[in-house]
Amino acid sequence: MTAITEKQNTARNKPRTPWLNTVAGETAIQAGVFVVLLLAWEIATRSGVISPFMLPAPEDVVRRMADDLASGVALADLGRTLWRAVLGFVISAVIGIPLGILMGRFALIKWFFDPLISVGFPMPKIAFLPIFILWFDVFDTSKIIMVVISAIFPIVLAANAGTEQCDKWPVWSARSLGASKAETLWEIIFPLALPQIMTGLQIALPVALITTIVTEMMMGGPGLGGAMMTAGRFADTQGVFAGIVEITIMGLVLMKGFEALRRRLLRWQPQVRE
């Protein structure tokens, strides 16, 4: 019943300001709160209530980002970080999706990998980084391997769950229409499990990005994480804030892009169209 949602009304009155109850109205208020926060921040730093050393004014952070972008410093770091995160993510997907599907169809593969996944998943895998540094030195290889180790777990779990939970009717239909076992794996089971796989990938994407930054912070060198650590060591608060904003924007762009990809790939799914 639609009536249930309406419990905010004051007694004996229809809502006095109906626009407030609309999505647009609520968004407007929240945007207002956001602007007020930013203004308070700007004023607090400009007036000297908070030292700019602790908290740089928003305007200064934006200017710093513009300068870094113009000089190309930020772009080089961003590119390096993006490359590592995306490559690590793609490798995780390329290994993780088939592994998860095969685990769902073959008992032997499940038997071997299931304990590794269930033990490895809850571990703080970042602790293994020194081992990879020991084996592969501090350059791209160890960072990307660390990203893969972190991001692959949610992908394998999602692909496995999606495969095990998919209906048997479409598989049987395909078999009776003459598809071989191997063909159903790719032609039927993979698309059926795709919604869950995409969810797993959506969890893994920020994990890949975060792990990239953490490895960069731990090892230093080129990349956003390393640049932020350097800024932090020199107490360059503007640089730190610029880094935080850049990473956040990069993450948001990646996530939104991936959501769009999901909608495109899963057009056939009824609940996607809202």
């Binding site: 709160v33 033990v119 809850p122 571990m123 602790a127 975060i210 932020m228 932090g232 060591r233 996530m255």
Partner: protein, 247 residues
């Protein structure tokens, strides 16, 4: 018996490891054999270092997590029932949500220095968001008829918040806390690794820098194992708390 069969692939991996080191396929410098790591582990325990650094780390991780739960659960529940509260807090949540919390390590360093407080605050911020969001979503999806039932049986608004909304949102809250628990461990290791004077992350980095690899392996496997067992214990606890869900 069943457990042994289930976890036998792990044993196989250990056997492979042992074989690789035994037959000298790779340098022991790069991959110490299991006996050496075990010996180093015993030494770390006997010297008391491992216990000390672990205690520091656990205090930070669980301190930050506890703060996040104490503040995040009520905040999420109240956001679900009070519109002004939600409209005021949501922009803040939306602003912090997409920031990778690990990126705040250098900022915490500038603001709070190299000691424990910077780690606890970092872990608190990292854990707060999943807790708030799960409490809010849990409370939002509570069947309104449950609240109505409580009201018709005489519960006040505040009573029904604690007696109905909180338990009804509990499955979602517990899932959120589990995510936060994972974050707490990752942020703890990361922040101690990058910059600290003590804690298990610091110990690992210190041993690695000094080239004491068997001890480094031992410390790494200790924190990984603790992460695993804490998660298991938490799952069992929340399973008990949620006995009522499905049988």
């Amino acid at each position: 018996m069943n457990t042994i069969l289930r976890y036998s692939p792990l044993l196989l991996l250990l056997l492979a490891w042992e074989a690789i080191t035994r037959f000298g396929l790779v340098s022991r410098q790069v991959l110490p054999d299991l006996a050496t790591i075990g010996g180093a582990w015993l030494q770390l325990i006997a010297g008391g270092e491992l216990a000390w650094h672990l205690a520091m780390s656990m205090a930070r991780a669980f301190g930050g997590l506890a703060l996040a739960i104490l503040i995040g659960v009520p905040a999420g529940l109240i956001m679900a029932v009070s519109k002004p509260f939600r409209l005021a807090l949501n922009p803040l949540v939306q602003m912090i949500y997409p920031i990778p919390k690990s990126a705040l390590v250098p900022l915490m360093m500038i603001w709070l220095g190299l000691g424990s407080s910077s780690k606890v605050v970092l872990i608190f911020i990292g854990c707060l968001l999943p807790v708030i969001v799960s409490a809010y979503n849990g409370a939002k999806s509570v069947n309104p008829f449950l609240l109505w039932s409580a009201a018709s049986l005489g519960a006040s608004r505040r009573e029904s918040l604690v007696e109905v909304l909180l338990p009804a949102a509990m499955p979602s809250v517990l899932t959120g806390i589990r995510t936060a628990l994972g974050f707490a461990f990752i942020l703890m290791v990361t922040s101690e690794f990058v910059i600290a004077k003590d804690g298990i992350g610091y110990l690992i980095a210190f041993l690695g820098d000094g080239g004491v690899y068997p001890s480094m392996f031992a410390a790494i496997f200790t924190v990984a194992a603790i992460g695993f067992f804490v998660d298991r214990a938490y799952s069992m606890l929340s399973g008990r708390l949620l006995r009522w869900t499905v049988t």
